[in-house]
């Protein structure tokens, strides 16, 4: 562990509730994980599993009901100081899923991109702001003069790049990528992904990459957490997870990945996850580290079984 980079973000027992008609709905039920500096951390789950909520809790648009979110060891949820607040605003950025919805249609690109620095006010004069905007646009492969246009003049891919530029201009350390490519045309997904990894390299960014599809994250993430119904069920380094999926839910997800070979694909056996396969009546499951850095949600019996599988 010591040779690994420091932990940038840590989430401890995070719980998020939403008020709904007739009570509370718990979207995230006590989640634990950490993200190391410079890595790409994948968070995978079906829609409705709470993954987006976790991302939003980190950028604090969703309110954490309990638990802690630590950024560089400092707690950033709940009541925090003004200084910390503006620091977090700057250091943690988010890229949204739908490029059509995440840009303000009635504002020019110039405003959209510079909105963050206007809030922080950390530039001198209009000229510097413009320069920063142009730089950010160039960095994402857009022409600086696009600044004077409105979002509806752009294609989906371009819009997503504007969204990225909006985050980059803040010089963040952590970027929450909330399914940044799932709404894009297949033909330009690679383009955007490439851009993102390029930026990660050049700027030393850390990504929390949220996706509903394991196949995408396999190629860009260092570690993956699988979430189901608000609970993490498994967390491991990417290759480890693909090689040794332990939790039945993970295995079900993996089996759903299409194989680019029709014969194989036809032979492939789909695993259907049935929560009834767990017997949690007596022994409650816990977040257990099965091997180094490989966590699974399991009770005693299951953990023993998983260890056995791994050892084989």
């Amino acid at each position: 562990m010591s040779d690994k980079p420091a932990e940038l973000l840590e989430v401890r027992n995070l719980r998020v509730d939403f008020p709904v008609k007739g009570g509370l709905f718990t979207a995230v039920k006590g989640v634990n994980f950490f993200i190391r500096k410079g890595e790409t951390f994948g968070l995978v789950g079906e829609s409705g599993s709470g993954k987006t909520t976790i991302g939003r809790a980190i950028v604090r648009i969703a309110h954490a009901s309990s638990g802690e979110i630590l950024f560089k060891g400092r707690r950033i949820n709940g009541r925090i100081t003004k200084e910390l607040d503006s620091e977090v605003v700057q250091k943690i950025q988010m890229i949204f899923q739908d490029p059509m919805a995440s840009l303000n249609e009635r504002a020019k690109v110039d405003y959209i991109v510079s909105e963050g620095i206007i809030n922080l006010g950390n530039y001198k004069g209009e000229a510097e702001r413009l320069a920063l905007v142009q730089k950010a646009l160039l960095e994402v492969g857009l022409l600086p003069e696009f600044a004077s246009r409105f979002p509806h003049e752009f294609s989906g891919g371009q819009r997503q790049r504007i969204g990225i530029a909006r985050s980059l201009i803040m010089e963040p350390e952590l970027v929450i990528c909330d399914e940044p490519i799932s709404a894009l045309d297949v033909s330009i997904r690679a383009q955007v992904l490439n851009l993102m990894s390029e930026l990660q390299r050049s700027k030393g960014l850390t990504y929390l990459f949220i996706a509903h599809d394991l196949s995408v994250v396999r190629f860009i993430t260092d570690r993956i957490a699988v979430i189901n119904k608000g609970e993490l069920v498994e967390l491991a380094e990417t290759e480890e997870l693909f090689a040794h999926p332990l939790h039945p839910y993970t295995r079900a997800l993996l089996s759903a990945i299409p194989v680019p070979d029709p014969i194989q694909e036809r032979k492939k056996k789909l695993i259907i996850y049935d929560p009834a396969c767990h017997d949690y009546a007596k022994d409650k499951p816990a977040w257990t580290e099965i091997s180094d850095g490989h966590f699974v949600l399991a009770n005693g019996a299951e953990a023993a079984e998983y260890r056995r599988v791994l050892a084989r």
Partner: protein, 314 residues
């Protein structure tokens, strides 16, 4: 769900309480001579005092409020002070409700059917003759003051069909014109709303897809477009239905329909406090109940609402 309903209900009661109290106090800001009528100048000081005493207007306002709620708790809404002196308020109001409700419901049903049909028709022939013709109707109804065209309808309508000028509850023919008059505005409103909704919906991709699949356009209308229209309808319908108790002020006056239309305005102008209080209580309850039912219906009918909630997208 049940707890939610209870909560909303108790909240509504608080609102109702504040509304009624506010109205109670506002009415007492009006000049006191209004309660004494034309004879004011000829009344002796003692008589004025006696009359105000009888109406309970001489106590400090908080005592008056207290008395009012004390009686209300016993189910006593008091007796009318001016409008129909000494007659229990409910006895004045109760016989009127059925007329307003009957006219209101029939007119609403009629305007719904005719209005929605008109809206669909317009959307179908968008930009063509019928669309323009009906648009002309909608614009005219909204543009010409109703005080003007309603009277013309009554005058020439009764003349044309040789029916009595005034409403007679025993004659079916005398129900027709007032009902139609009441529906005219509603038809225009529903048609406009329906047209806009249909046009918006028809432009959506899934409709285009359905068309591309070769689905007959009547089936598209029924299966997709209409079905989507239910949801917002469900929300507004209860309020609209309940609103019929308040009646239509112009039309009821014109045809002598003994309904609720204008009753509130009447009693406010004559400063009949117990009547005002009771009516405000009724209308507010009805209004608040309408909102409440609308929300409940919306939650029951619209599958998306639950879905959205469990997604936690708020």
């Amino acid at each position: 769900m049940f707890i939610y309903m209870l909560k909303r209900l108790s909240q509504s009661i608080v609102t109702l309480f504040i509304v009624v109290t506010t109205v109670f106090l506002l009415m007492r800001l009006l000049p006191v001579e209004g309660y004494l009528g034309d004879r004011y100048d000829k009344l002796s000081v003692e008589q004025r005092e006696a009359m105000l005493q009888k109406m309970g207007l001489l106590d400090p306002w908080y005592v008056q409020v207290g008395t009012f709620y004390g009686k209300l708790a016993k189910g006593d809404l008091g007796t009318s002070a001016i409008y129909r002196k000494d007659v229990p308020v409910l006895e004045v109001i109760a016989p009127r409700v059925p007329y307003s409700v009957r006219f209101g419901l029939v007119a609403m049903a009629f305007s719904l059917v005719a209005g929605l049909a008109m809206g669909v028709h317009m959307a179908r022939y968008k930009g063509r003759f019928w669309d323009r013709a009906w648009t002309g109707y909608i614009v005219l109804i909204n543009a010409v003051p109703s005080a003007v065209y309603l009277l013309f309808i009554q005058l020439y309508g009764t003349d044309l069909f040789k029916i009595p000028l005034l409403f007679d509850k025993y004659k079916f023919s005398s129900w027709v014109l007032p009902t139609i008059s009441m529906a005219l505005g509603g038809i225009a409103g529903y048609a406009m709303w329906m047209r806009r909704f249909m046009v918006d919906e028809l432009n959506k991709d899934y409709i285009k897809l359905a068309r591309a699949k070769g689905m007959p356009s009547s089936a598209i209308m029924v299966k997709h477009v209409m079905r989507n229209a239910y949801v917002p309808m469900a929300q507004y319908l209860p309020a609209a239905i309940l609103a019929t108790v308040s009646g239509s002020i112009y039309i009821e006056s014109l045809y002598s329909i003994p309904g609720m239309g204008g009753l509130l305005v009447d009693v406010i102008q004559r400063q009949d406090n117990p009547m005002v209080q009771a009516l405000v209580l009724i209308f507010s309850s009805v209004g608040i109940l309408g909102l409440f039912l609308g929300d409940v219906l919306m939650a029951v009918f619209d599958p998306r609402i639950k879905f959205v909630k469990s997604e936690g997208a708020r």
